[in-house]
Symmetry: C2
Subunit: 552 residues, 2 copies
């Protein structure tokens, strides 16, 4: 065999770079003018390529997405897209135009309905809905990108990149492409003589484009405290007293939503009253939620490592380097891959919301007509069975789950699902059968797209109480524990009243009153901030909320 037989990737890369060489200039030979981006993509992207289009919860390589949607489908077609998040109209437009034909992704917020339509029209093949770290893992095994289209804050003349607070997925994507003969193209908001710091070294980057507009960033983790209801305050009180305090939960992750924002805002008030400062919620794997500001200021929080940043939190983060991970330049370094590893292996608890829960405790956000994806929830909301280090919370949860004293003792991650029994438009959160079953059929999957499996869930919290599934022995008990907190939904009404009472007597189900929580105390007065303006005030004016959250 000749030497070149093992260098097809290198040869392909060299050919692509050669085709694009006339488009690139600057001292590094990497800079491409923004108006030449479509031509660049047509030169380096080949039919059938695996293309990673950076887009995640927050940061979007939106200019590159727009340009990719403008390439000539006769030359560039049948792409296999790899994406953390399908968020922009351009992402789905790629399928409408035949530029792309299949996708592996993790999350699709606003585009969930369009994705479902594209599936129905046969215009897209969704191979799988991943959790982020799973998708990153595949970038190094069987989904290595031929081309990576990424976004950074700034580049210097050599092509070193500054990704700053929104570093997010960039290092994982670039490493997978750059070290397997992939082409790395970056859109930057500015080209600077010197960078505040280097987040990605220049020799991992092939082309730099100064985009006409700064990349889009979605403030996905901002929740206006004014919209938190008193039912959510009640549920948050139950979580703090009935779970965080009982297990001594110090290291944790919160999902997105008003339910968990309520918990964050109750730490400096209700949590403080219960004497829990320093005993719970000290170390976080969490985006910089504005709702956490009052708890940080009250001294509840020792550290926060973040998947990504949050718009408006930059100055506050930079002023709190003891809490957040920041560089020598003072700004945050987020990193989704490491934060997901931390969330999986170093956290004792994950708590999040969902759209549907069945009587086995399986939950999904994939509902009829919407393919929403799961993001980090399956990774954070699964028992970390490779974990071996002990903590109070992990050991206690494992003990509760151990049915037989002869079994090898093993710790357990606390995985809490927190839902009101009815969501908006009176849709029940509890169902006998998940919509995910139908979706699996329409998507051609063997297994329904479940976000969190019932056997990974340890507690379900509703306004009706806490069901501790760890203490259930056998499937029947589990089912009745779930029905027992499902309230007036059909699932709840079908409960076996006697068995539910027996479970309550054993402490498997605990109502607010069983926890010594009076419903009349669950008022919005307990929230450490009642408005976005309160959050700004709590931050000493450092938090600068996006305009859509300002009404002053």
């Amino acid at each position: 065999m000749t030497n070149t037989a093992w260098r097809q990737g290198q040869q392909s890369k060299a050919a692509r770079l050669g085709r694009a060489a006339h488009l690139a200039g600057g001292s590094s030979g990497k800079v491409v003018q923004a108006d030449q981006t479509v031509a660049l993509l047509e030169s380096v992207v080949q039919p059938g390529d695996r293309v990673c289009l950076e887009g995640n919860n927050q940061k979007q390589a939106d200019f590159l997405a727009q340009c990719l949607a403008k390439v000539n489908p006769q030359h560039v077609h049948d792409l296999h897209l790899l994406q953390s998040v399908v968020a922009l109209p351009e992402h789905t437009a790629l399928f409408d135009k035949g530029i792309a034909k299949e996708i592996d992704f993790s999350f699709s917020g606003p585009q969930g309905a369009r994705l479902a339509n594209l599936v129905a029209a046969g215009k897209i093949k969704i191979n799988a809905i991943h959790t982020y770290l799973e998708l990153f893992g595949r970038y190094f095994v069987d989904l290595t990108p031929n081309v990576a289209l990424i976004a950074a804050e700034a580049a210097d003349a050599q092509g070193n990149l500054y990704t700053g607070p929104n570093t997010e997925d960039t290092p994982a994507i670039v490493e997978a492409a750059a070290f397997k003969n992939g082409i790395v193209i970056v859109q930057v908001n500015e080209i600077r003589d010197t960078l505040p710091r280097v987040d990605v070294p220049a020799d991992w980057v092939d082309f730099v484009i100064h985009a006409p507009r700064p990349n889009y960033i979605e403030p996905l983790f901002t929740r206006d405290p004014a919209q938190i209801s008193e039912i959510q305050v009640l549920m948050a009180m139950m979580v703090i007293k009935g779970i965080y305090a009982e297990y001594g939960v110090k290291r944790l992750n919160h999902g997105i939503g008003f339910d968990t924002a309520a918990i964050e805002l109750l730490l400096p008030t209700y949590g403080e009253q219960l004497g829990l400062k320093g005993k719970i919620c000290t170390n976080w794997a969490l985006n910089p939620h504005p709702a956490l500001i009052p708890a940080i200021e009250a001294g509840f929080v020792q550290s926060v490592h973040s998947f990504g940043s949050e718009l408006g939190m930059e100055k506050y983060i930079a002023a709190r380097p003891d809490v957040f991970f920041t560089g020598n330049d003072g700004s945050m370094r987020s990193n989704r891959a490491f934060c997901q590893a931390a969330g999986h292996y170093a956290c004792d608890l994950f708590i999040g919301s969902t759209l549907q829960i069945d009587t086995f405790g399986n939950s999904s956000t994939a509902t009829k007509g919407r393919i929403a994806g799961f993001g980090g929830a399956p990774n954070m909301g699964a028992d970390a069975r490779g974990r071996r280090h002990e903590s109070e919370a992990w050991v206690k949860a494992g003990r509760e789950a151990q049915a037989n004293p002869k079994h090898m003792p093993r710790g357990r991650k606390l995985v809490v699902q927190m839902v009101e029994t009815f969501r908006e438009h009176m849709a029940p959160a509890f169902v006998e059968r998940l919509d995910a079953w139908d979706l699996a059929e329409s998507m051609g999957l063997n297994n329904p797209p479940v976000m969190i499996f019932g056997d990974d869930v340890t507690h379900i919290v509703t306004e009706e109480g806490i069901a501790n599934l760890l203490l259930c022995r056998g499937e029947e008990e589990r089912e009745q524990a779930i029905r027992g907190v499902a309230g007036y939904t059909d699932v709840g009404m079908a409960r076996d009243k006697k068995m539910v009472e027996a479970l309550r007597a054993r402490g498997v189900i605990r109502r607010a009153e069983d926890l010594g929580i009076a419903r009349r105390d669950a008022t919005r007065d307990l929230l450490a901030a009642k408005t976005v303006k309160d959050l700004v005030r709590a931050s000493g004016g450092l938090y600068n909320p996006p305009s859509r959250f300002r009404n002053w």
Copy 2:
């Protein structure tokens, strides 16, 4: 609150850097002479610090370890060490001298017995034995290093680092320290004007030391084919035909050892005869095992992403960039964190050996008098419950495990334990009770240090056959399936013969003959390489084995 109240980490770092400033020079102000290293460490390391001392399966920051062992214990003491691998005498000497007092680690090969002695003497507190990715995760949550002592191949004048093939743990360690006000000190083999590529940017690094000797690298994954026995050939045949072919295992990880080396060496012979090329073992998360060379040359392997490199494989890897992950400079980039994520989430199968297995299928390498640790095995050898993407192997394993058709279908990772029924010195691999129980007591752990839990194991393979635990219904069947392949060990002799025969009739236990494998065919002639010299030949002279593996 004043601004500085939130900047204690920054202030501490500035004070440490100030104390060491007179020791550092060069154009970057970062270069410290080797003979000033002890003085540097005494200036920047403070009592009680969390110190990450880089050392993993392969690369060791051995010069920094030696220097740390020479600091004055009156000034530097009570350190909390964080280490992937405890491998060198200097590592344990730190505890003998009182410089360090507690440790969180993952693996200790040769130092396992000394660790046990230190525990018995009350000179060390072992907080936990982690899996690598778990330890890295904690670096971002509750075990963030104050000081990181790392090793690189070369630095330039600015302090940019080239870690080359042995990048390994370095990016994870440096990121955790550099972005949380930690001090990063690197030993390098040389200081160059220009680097082949940049693996770690200069502004993440505080001090650079040109060490008097190149850092130590252990060729841990090299197995001499001459030492593979015919029993191992037989077991490898059973694995290839009875597991890899049956499930269509394409993406996988192999543990260390002669058992798995035998599988690698049988792919181009026995695997080829069975028509399996392209159908199994195409994509790997694996160190560059020399034993894989014949399979690569035969076209079995599409890609290999590696945790670390392997001594002597550098030129071979550089000549096979279609298979390995290499940079623009041509040399490999390994990355333990990403490869562990890939092994957990993107692989369908993990197979490895162990020292003891109990009748529940729990296994451990922690035996009496030895605290060996587990390395990556708990991460790779656990069902990845956050995984959602489907593959033939994963779906089939999940189907076999599903006991009740009403349960939500879920895929399963294949986790195979491969052992001869007796190890060296006739120690039985199967035991009624793991030594780990006693070890837990002596170490003050709640839970015994289990490497892989029985409920994560799907198959146990011995020379007696394959026990498919997925097909077992209930604990009794599981126990008898395990006893059924435990041969003439006490555990095997205590089997219920009738039940074992029934399990065999159902295909839960399969003997070699049930798989159509004649024991007489299991000869060393099947090995694609019978010696290290054969491996060199297969590589076209590119593989350059360490001298200890050369007898010519």
